[in-house]
């Protein structure tokens, strides 16, 4: 008969900067769950930890760079992708993952996102979509459902959100999927898969932000949002959902489609090198 045992080390501690734990994220925040998937994927990737690099922008999700025990760059708001593009092209043997938030990647960083997808640069993007700007206190953003509330939308958000998989597909991404923080195995597997899928890959992971989005929208805590995912998510098998239906509305009793949406084999961006270049 066993009670719970105390430990002061976690099996993944070598992957994270355990000296910085506990991290700054709020209780019930989903970011840590996704970071765990990423850490696990690195472990299973067979690629030396030295060759993995994470680049983040600014935001709660952007703090991931500071917690991963690999080479890590915490850049400026919205610019993680071009920074990562430069890094990857300068040193192609690195496995460069951009780990950042929905606001960082799709609001201020939207232009780099679509252009990196268009070019099909071989970087791996993990986008934590918590439907708002958590870091600055729960403002609405380009992923907030229409009508939902936020600190800058006290009367409800008047804007339509992006449908990110559709947008990424149209921009040219090679591989696009969506999961939630309840899909921990799938998220990990998909990140792992993306390491082996050359070109621009984009994995959106829906995550609770109880302090920001949750508070304004009657989702009491991370747990409640996790249950919502469990109850409403529907796995898409290839082609059975119209792109338009991918739009998420957490407030309505509509299915949330998850799964892999785009899987292409376009050759990744290669800068021009002339033969016999010195």
């Amino acid at each position: 008969m066993a009670s719970i045992q105390l430990s002061n080390q976690h099996p993944l501690d070598s992957l994270i900067r355990s000296d910085r734990l506990p991290h700054i994220w709020c209780p019930g925040c989903g970011i840590g769950i996704i970071m765990r998937c990423y850490a696990q994927a690195i472990l299973e990737s067979g690629i030396s930890q030295e060759k993995h690099v994470v680049v983040s922008g600014i935001g709660c999700s952007g703090r991931v760079a500071g917690y991963m025990n690999i080479d890590s760059y915490h850049t400026t708001h919205g610019r993680a992708i071009p920074f990562a593009v430069g890094l990857k092209l300068a040193k192609p043997e690195l496995m460069v993952t951009v780990f950042s938030g929905d606001g960082d990647l799709t609001a201020i960083g939207g232009n780099h996102l679509i252009h990196a997808a268009r070019r099909n640069v071989d970087i791996k993007v993990v986008c934590v979509n918590n439907f708002n700007y958590g870091m600055t206190g729960g403002q609405v953003g380009p992923t907030t459902p229409k009508g939902a509330r936020g600190t800058t939308a006290p009367y409800g958000n008047p804007e339509l959100p992006f449908n990110l998989p559709y947008l990424m597909g149209a921009a040219g991404a090679n591989y696009v999927s969506r999961w939630t923080t309840i899909h921990v195995r799938q998220t990990k597997d998909d990140i792992l898969h993306s390491f082996n899928h050359p070109g621009f890959t984009f994995i959106e992971v829906l995550a609770p932000c109880p302090i920001g989005f949750g508070k304004s929208n009657n989702i009491n805590d991370g747990l409640e949002e996790m249950e919502l995912y469990r109850d409403r998510c529907v796995l898409v098998s290839d082609g059975d959902v119209r792109a338009e239906e991918l739009t998420i509305d957490l407030r309505e009793e509509r299915p949330i489609y998850v799964g892999n949406f785009i899987d292409r084999d376009q050759p990744p961006y290669r800068p021009i090198h002339l033969e016999n270049a010195q």
Partner: protein
């Protein structure tokens, strides 16, 4: 289409391993996610708190041997605070 999230585990009973649950107390923020999503309902909220005042998970009474080492608690814990190791010894 297939509802997916509801069946995260392979619960076939034949070769179920047994797990020992570990916690890093001071990392826990009491979000209760591990507790709610444990398929075996092994965990419950503690009455005590850690130094930060959070109620961490503990083993529910009568569940001392119920952990099947599915690791889901570890996978969903945002804090890297809980994990399980496979127990030596006899399967169920």
């Amino acid at each position: 289409m297939e509802v997916y999230a509801r069946t995260p585990l392979d619960l076939e009973r034949m070769t179920v391993p047994r797990g020992q649950v570990f916690i890093i107390l001071e990392r826990c923020k009491g979000c209760e996610i591990c507790i709610r999503f444990c398929p075996q309902e092994v965990l419950q909220v503690s009455t005590g708190t850690n130094a930060k005042g959070y109620h961490y998970p503990e083993i529910a009474p009568g569940k001392e041997d119920a952990c099947v080492h599915c690791q889901f608690c570890a996978l969903v814990c945002p804090e890297f605070a809980i994990f399980t190791l496979e127990k030596d010894g006899d399967p169920a």
